[in-house]
């Protein structure tokens, strides 16, 4: 009896493993770890759109799965490791706080490829990727500078890390180029996603005369507030026009799709390698959402020409002269900021009002 049972078990195991093998040969499993809910706007939304894009472009060759709202603490490592253990061969971890957990898991799963967004640590099987969102920020600054009547722009920001400071400075650079009298006011909310705080910050900025708002946080609360109060706003991460048909001038958006598609393809054909990718507007990974109907043609064509110049490399956002808040020239005319300087950006340029929270 027990003999027969054993044989049956063995056959069952064989069948099961056979099924597994055939499933594995058919497709590449890609895992995504998200810091927020996928929702319908914002940072995580932009990553999830790209995930769907890859699924659609490589239909039949890849399957994807994701885990959303994963806290950036001790839980992240387990989620990443589980994805790896479940046979995902390519894993995208899409928030800065996943850097060290990803690195630890990458060490344990040398055959799995890991891609971490916004970080600075790489290993043999862990690459990093980022988009030059500051380019789109700069373009949105041109629109804001041309639109404002009060010469006061409001910026709702999350944490004073280089990525955010770079965005504020790029936006300000754009604003000042078309409107030297304007200034940018910043309110920090110390959160990536807190619609109530973001709304409060937006209201504060409106009380301080700001008539064009933008934000570096994950929700659309700032756009909604602007719409309700009858001022303008510029979205971030994804097109947020659905939240404010009148207020939404444009948005600086990320398009991770091309990066994810490239990475998936390279794993499929075996050419994947760990690298530090920082792609810009010329690759179509950062861009402006369509401009609002109310934006005059003159501004539209200005944005188009600047965008073309950025794409061709004729100009860079932080071409000199770049002055700091005290008016001291930090980058002289004829020079531009290096990538290393951009990565460590921890000071405000001229035109930003107020103090950067200092360490």
């Amino acid at each position: 009896m027990s003999h027969r049972l054993l044989v049956k078990l063995a056959i069952a195991c064989l069948l099961a493993s056979g099924i597994n093998l055939s499933a594995k040969a058919a497709d590449l499993k890609i895992g995504f770890v998200y810091v927020g809910p996928t929702g319908d706007a914002g940072w995580t939304y932009s990553h999830d759109e790209a995930r769907k894009y890859v699924e659609q472009q490589l239909a039949g060759k890849v399957t994807t799965s994701y885990v959303e709202s994963v806290p950036e603490g001790a839980d992240a490592e387990r989620v990443i490791r589980q994805l790896a253990a479940k046979g995902h061969e390519l894993i995208f971890t899409t928030s800065f706080g996943y850097m060290n957990p990803t690195l630890k898991v990458a060490k344990r799963f040398p055959k799995v490829k890991f891609e971490h967004a916004t970080g600075y640590k790489q290993s043999k099987n862990m690459g990093t990727y980022m988009v030059r969102a500051y380019q789109a920020r700069y373009l949105s600054g041109l629109v804001a500078g041309k639109t404002t009547k009060t010469n006061t722009l409001g910026y709702v920001a999350s944490f004073p890390i280089p990525e955010v400071v770079r965005g504020i400075n790029a936006f300000t650079k754009g604003v000042k180029e078309v409107n030297p009298a304007a200034k940018v006011k910043v309110v920090w909310v110390s959160s990536w996603y807190d619609p109530a705080k973001e709304r409060e910050a937006a209201e504060t900025l409106i009380l301080q005369d700001a008539d064009v708002l933008t934000q570096h946080t994950d929700s659309a609360a700032v756009i909604q507030t602007a719409e309700a109060k009858g001022v303008y706003a510029i979205g971030y991460h994804s097109d947020m026009s659905g939240y404010g048909a009148n207020a939404h001038l444009t948005a600086a958006v990320h398009k991770w799709g091309p990066i994810y598609l490239e990475k998936a393809k390279s794993v499929l054909d075996g050419t994947w390698k760990a690298e530090d990718l920082w792609l810009g507007i010329e690759h179509g990974v950062t861009d402006l959402a369509p401009l609002n109907k109310s934006v005059p043609d003159e501004v539209k064509s200005l944005v188009e020409s600047k965008k073309a110049a950025l794409k061709s490399g004729d100009i860079r956002v932080f071409d000199g002269p770049v002055r700091d808040q005290s008016g001291t020239v930090k980058i002289v005319e004829g020079e531009t900021m290096s990538d290393d300087q951009l990565r460590g950006f921890n000071w405000y340029i001229e035109g930003v009002d107020g103090q950067l929270p200092k360490s």
Binding site: G31, P37, T38, S65, Y66, V67, E68, S69, V70, P71, E72, G73, A74, D75, E77, R78, V79, Q82, L83, A85, K86, F96, G97, N100, Y120, F159, P160, I161, P162, S190, R343, G344, N346, P357, K358, S359
Partner: protein, 359 residues
């Protein structure tokens, strides 16, 4: 309709039956939820409750979650027995992690064996000191500890944010809000090198044994219980109620602080803005779920830890959104706590008037 009637004394039968009833209700409601969403209910429930624990790795990960939950909950239990409503385990956890983490960063380049115990002690003392603030406010100004401990949670979180954005930030970390990684000498020893489970679980089990003895076998435990049952009686008996309030808060703060520093020097390995995924708050649920008994707290922490892991599993395998897994977790807790009503009360049809309540 139905109405609740107080039982003359608690029902022994329902005390045993209520968890069973809760589990049946959860399975039924959860099964319905998953099948409405188009998943086989049996498979979904299996993925949620069983799949995370099908291998040793899963059990060790459960331990990683159970240890901090248990430490916080055992301390809170001590407080709640005395009817001192400490809602501040979250803040005490964070201060433990922050204070101990700071000492760890200062001393981590030394290689002595006493460094780690010193760091753990520092964390414990910091947690205790944070709770002492609430104890002082309560005993000197009669400030309600519910309010003060909640407020102290926010202060602790902001102190942590300040530290990782400022003085404790990794100097080589490109301004990202994280400390440097801890060295080996300030890292909790692992139980086995292949898993993340550290000796903090053993500490938690030791504390369980101590607390159990303390509550049932010592004068202090007795005094705490009397204080909780009837403060006047406690005073009449000559117990120093002030001193007992201090003890309750200090013990609770110390344990939360220990949990915090064990987490920081354990699975996290550095200070970051996200050292607690809400353990201090979850521990409150654990205490009541465990019916304020040390052994009950062990099982309740395991159950709560499992629901987090099951939630991740369900997201990965069934691609269900986080909101659904959160909904299911909420349902489970609701049924467990709601069914406990049946211990003290019975349900009767509303039409029949009860002579006792008719007056």
């Amino acid at each position: 309709m139905l109405r609740l009637e107080r039982r003359p004394s608690d029902s022994k039968l329902m005390m045993a039956l209520s968890p069973v009833l809760a589990i049946v209700l959860t399975l039924a409601a959860g099964g319905t939820l998953f099948s409405v969403l188009g998943h086989a209910p049996g498979q979904a429930l299996y993925t949620f409750f069983i799949a995370p624990l099908t291998d040793l790795y899963g059990w060790t990960e459960l331990g990683v979650k159970v240890a901090p939950l248990m430490l916080c909950a055992l301390g809170l239990n001590f407080c709640y027995r005395a009817r001192v409503w400490n809602i501040g385990a979250e803040g005490q956890f964070i201060m433990g992690g922050l204070g101990g983490g700071w000492i760890a960063l200062e001393l981590m380049h030394l290689n002595d064996i006493w460094i780690l115990p010193l760091v753990l002690l520092a964390g414990t003392v910091c947690g205790m000191a944070w709770a002492a603030l609430a104890a002082w406010l309560k005993t000197h100004f009669h400030a309600n500890e519910v309010l003060t401990t909640i407020m102290l949670n926010y202060i602790a979180l902001n102190a942590l944010l300040y530290a990782v954005h400022g003085p404790l930030m990794d100097p080589d970390g490109f301004n990202f809000p994280e400390s440097a990684l801890f060295t080996e000498s300030v890292t909790m020893p692992l139980i086995h090198e292949d898993y993340r489970l550290s000796i903090s679980l053993l500490l938690a089990l030791l504390v369980l044994a101590v607390m159990w003895t303390l509550l049932t076998r010592t004068l202090l435990g007795f005094q705490i219980s009397v204080l909780g049952e009837d403060e006047k009686a406690a005073r009449f008996a000559g117990f120093r109620t002030r001193w007992l309030t201090w003890m309750a808060l200090l013990v609770s703060g110390a344990l939360a602080g220990l949990a915090g520093i064990a987490e920081v020097t354990g699975p996290l390995g550095q200070l970051s803005p996200h050292i607690s995924p809400g353990y201090g708050y979850a521990a409150i649920i654990v205490v009541f779920l465990g019916r304020m008994h040390p052994l009950g707290i062990l099982f309740a922490s395991m159950l709560l830890g499992l629901t987090y892991m099951g939630g991740e599993m369900v997201q990965m395998d069934l691609t269900l959104p986080k909101s659904i897994t959160g909904l299911f977790q909420g349902m489970l807790l609701f049924f467990l706590l709601a069914c406990d009503v049946l211990i003290g009360y019975r349900i009767l049809p509303a039409s029949r008037q009860n002579p006792q309540t008719a007056n």
